[in-house]
Symmetry: C2
């Protein structure tokens, strides 16, 4: 088992790793500070420089207990084509843990990897290991193609630099991979009658939902944590995400919200003055020169959105930032308050890197491609409908930018064509079963989530105070009761699915 | 509307067209007379030479009424890849008939094309046009990629001769095509709330089933006629198909069955004699020389299986053959009786072509590829478990042969991986809805069909005396009451689906 104490600190790392992703995604989607990179940047190993991850607290791969066994499956590169190039294979990594498995008909819990290497999930996703004993479940964690050690065509750089080889990098191929791996595991361990429950968070939660819908003969049920499956096409209003960030800050403190809302014009005003940019750069302790007010505004925006998305106990970053903003002495100007907020969040760095173009993590590299090809999520905002400056999502421009970066345009309607999403209550009311959509309503992505029960077994489990993917992280002594209850409810629902399945087996 | 009188004669053509396919399929699968062609043969326009279709009775395309409008959709060649080659497009043909459509929320009936050009379906599939008025339904008939006028990469010959271009020719791509076309039609005709029911027969019935399961957000329900969705892997016994052929003949006449059963050894015996082959060739009026007893046996086998599969009223070919076999004067030898059976079935030809290698229809060309790549249906038979000589399905040999023909091996387990099939009652009991599996129990393919209700809305509608796809053909005055009842039951079930859907719309 993973060391529980070490785990605790990793919830932090996990959150900040995700923060990186959201930063990048937002910058792309809002067409603001960071333009879509017009070259696929090189991979560099400087992950830690962009996070506040404490290197002393990183759980090394070797520290994960021997109960986790790493295996590889020879995976088909293209499940939907029979041309000779489709038969190429790659080694797909999966990690398996038998410790609590009851063998034979006992359940298999499968975590479907998302846009990161599977090691990170082993270090942070706790739902499976915390409940494996209760369910006598085999644990399986499968890495998503093109991440970690499951990269076809050599290195990530090689895979991503070729306009043809990166074409196989999409969700339909990924869930077909999961289907093959899970069938292989059932065969290998003579577990034909073991019910499989799939788990995933965020993009991985979408994959879990879609896997249950597309492969019901493989997965009996799915727990989809913080999966914004409705943030496609025009199903969710563009400003859903930023509206919730805004609401989070407003609820934490009306005056904090007002300060932030008024800060953008203040930045523009100062930036337009002589030496204004230099003044702002100093004031916000930016490492290196500040090039434009947009750069600073994008940086601040990324802090607020990350704080809202990962507004988790016990720290609750939104409250932390607002306490600092509100806590400055009377007479402190707006930007003085904003800096105090940033400082409380960023803590002890001597200066802050706000735009390190030289670095792109494997995850951001992969996810940028995914959002620019298939996973087109229209996040934007209008005039005065959030606490942020306007930044509407412009699909035409987005398509143009992606095409200029990658040579091929995205297919913005494919997700709803293949997986659905429109009229989901009407569609799934009498079709499908056994999906839990869990959300924390303070998570900006919950705006694109399923928040109401659809049928007797397609259920929404939301928490008013929850943030992104909290329920699937490792439980902790300090967890608030609403989080404990959310998890217990999920366990009860899965218990019912499995009991019914065993009863059906006897029919 | 299609002329009803003309239609009647086309049921015949339809059946014989299908006969061609089954001939080819069987010859491949049984590794008997016809080996897998080791070269992709050229297309030739001699379709009629291999059927008993009366050219005077062929409904020309121009004779189909003006109510049928032919349109084309610019279709994506590869839905599951984002490499530049995936963005190639082709023109996919579909035919639409508004005559009875109620507009706005009224239903859309979509016939999903299978392994033939869509014209043939317009000439033979009658369920949609016969019931469009009752349902106020829009009729849509969509052609399957790589058939008819929906061939990517130029001609069928060009498409099939290239090892890369034919890779896109598979069912997952085909049903994704249907998804795009149907969404396009809904958009184009402002029919967002129109429930879509999909229809298909045989392979097309499998597509209809799978479409409902994979795209429930597009199709509300499916009528899958004679769809052997369980004839994959080892779900259905290999000899299921030939066992039913045998049963059909045995039930028609025990003595007829015995005559056939004993005929194979008789053929072998005579063939081994001096001039035996020549004698057999003359006896069976074979055009050109007979090369081996296997050739004759394969030819006879194909007649018996086609007669059983298309054992439709009013002719009932199995009874017809058996009457002829049994009707010969006392003292007629076995082969004399067998020839009388053949003659009654084949009717007036001066001599019979039993192996025309120079000709391959587009359908047989396409379907051979499909069965050699994805649709691997293990039809075989053992020693004395049918009225036929043994011919077990040997998967290893089959893979070897396909690989040697096409350069790539088939993926024999992909259908069950992607679509399921194993434990179907367990899986679909609590998942999915609104599928009718219709079968005629005299149809040898019913052995791989769903013959029991799975849930309240996944239903089996079988007829004891029915044959292949009878229910979806155009109704006729002479139809027996059990066939009329089968169709009425299907209509009632679809009525219920649609009524529930409209009620749900108001919730």
């Amino acid at each position: 088992m993973i060391n529980m104490e070490a785990q605790k600190s990793f919830r932090f790392s996990f959150q900040f790793y995700h923060l990186l992703l959201i930063l990048l995604l937002q910058s792309i989607l809002s067409n603001s500070v960071l333009a879509i990179p017009h070259k696929i940047p090189r991979l560099t190993p400087h992950r830690e420089t962009l996070t506040r991850r404490d290197p002393n607290k990183i759980l090394s791969a070797s520290a994960i207990s021997d109960d986790f066994i790493t295996l590889f499956y020879t995976q088909t590169i293209d499940h939907f084509n029979y041309g000779p190039q489709s038969y190429a294979t790659f080694q797909q990594r999966y990690v398996i843990n038998f410790k609590y498995w009851g063998g034979s008909n006992s359940p298999i819990f499968a975590y479907l990897g998302a846009e990161e290497q599977i090691d990170f999930d082993l270090q942070s996703i706790g739902f499976l290991s915390a409940n494996a004993r209760h369910f006598s479940a085999l644990q399986v964690y499968i890495e998503h193609r093109y991440y970690g050690e499951s990269i076809p065509f050599g290195t990530m750089e090689q895979a991503m630099n070729d306009i043809s080889t990166r074409g196989y990098f999409n969700s339909a191929q990924a869930i077909a991979d999961y289907a093959e791996v899970l069938i292989h595991i059932k065969d290998k361990f003579s577990a034909q009658n073991s019910p499989i429950i799939v788990f995933g968070g965020s993009y991985g939660g979408m994959l879990a939902t879609w896997f249950r819908l597309k492969y019901p003969h493989i997965a009996l049920g799915a727990l989809a944590s913080s999966a914004p499956i409705l943030y496609f096409d025009n199903i969710t209003p563009q400003n859903g995400y930023y509206s919730i960030v805004t609401k989070d800050f407003k609820e934490a403190s009306k005056s904090c919200y007002e300060t932030i809302r008024r800060s953008w014009a203040e930045i523009d005003k100062i930036a337009s003055m002589q030496y204004g940019l230099s003044y702002l750069g100093n004031k916000f302790k930016i490492c290196g020169p500040l090039h434009s007010p947009q750069e600073l505004k994008g940086y601040l925006e990324s802090i607020y959105t990350a704080a809202a998305q990962y507004n988790a106990p016990p720290e609750y970053p939104v409250s932390m930032i607002c306490s600092a903003i509100d806590g400055e002495p009377t007479g402190t100007d707006i930007l003085g308050r904003i800096f105090a907020g940033v400082n409380s969040y960023k803590k002890s760095y001597p200066c802050y890197h706000i735009n390190d173009y030289s670095y792109q993590s494997e995850s951001s590299l992969g996810w940028t491609w995914q959002t620019c090809s298939e996973m087109v999520m229209p996040l934007g905002r209008g005039i005065n409908d959030t606490m942020f400056p306007p930044s509407p999502f412009n699909l035409d421009q987005f398509i143009k930018d992606c095409k200029s970066t990658y040579g091929v345009p995205p297919r913005p309607h494919w997700v709803t064509t293949y997986y659905g999403g429109h009229d989901i209550k009407l569609i799934l009311r009498r079709f499908g079963s056994n999906i839990i959509f869990s959300n924390g309503l303070r998570d900006p992505y919950s705006s694109g989530g399923v928040l109401e029960d659809i049928s007797q077994s397609i259920l929404a489990v939301s928490t008013v105070n929850g943030s992104h993917c909290l329920d699937v992280l490792l439980p902790d002594q300090s967890d608030p009761s609403w989080l404990v209850e959310q998890r217990n409810k999920e366990i009860e629902i899965i218990d019912v699915w499995i009991a019914k399945y065993y009863a059906d087996l006897l029919v």
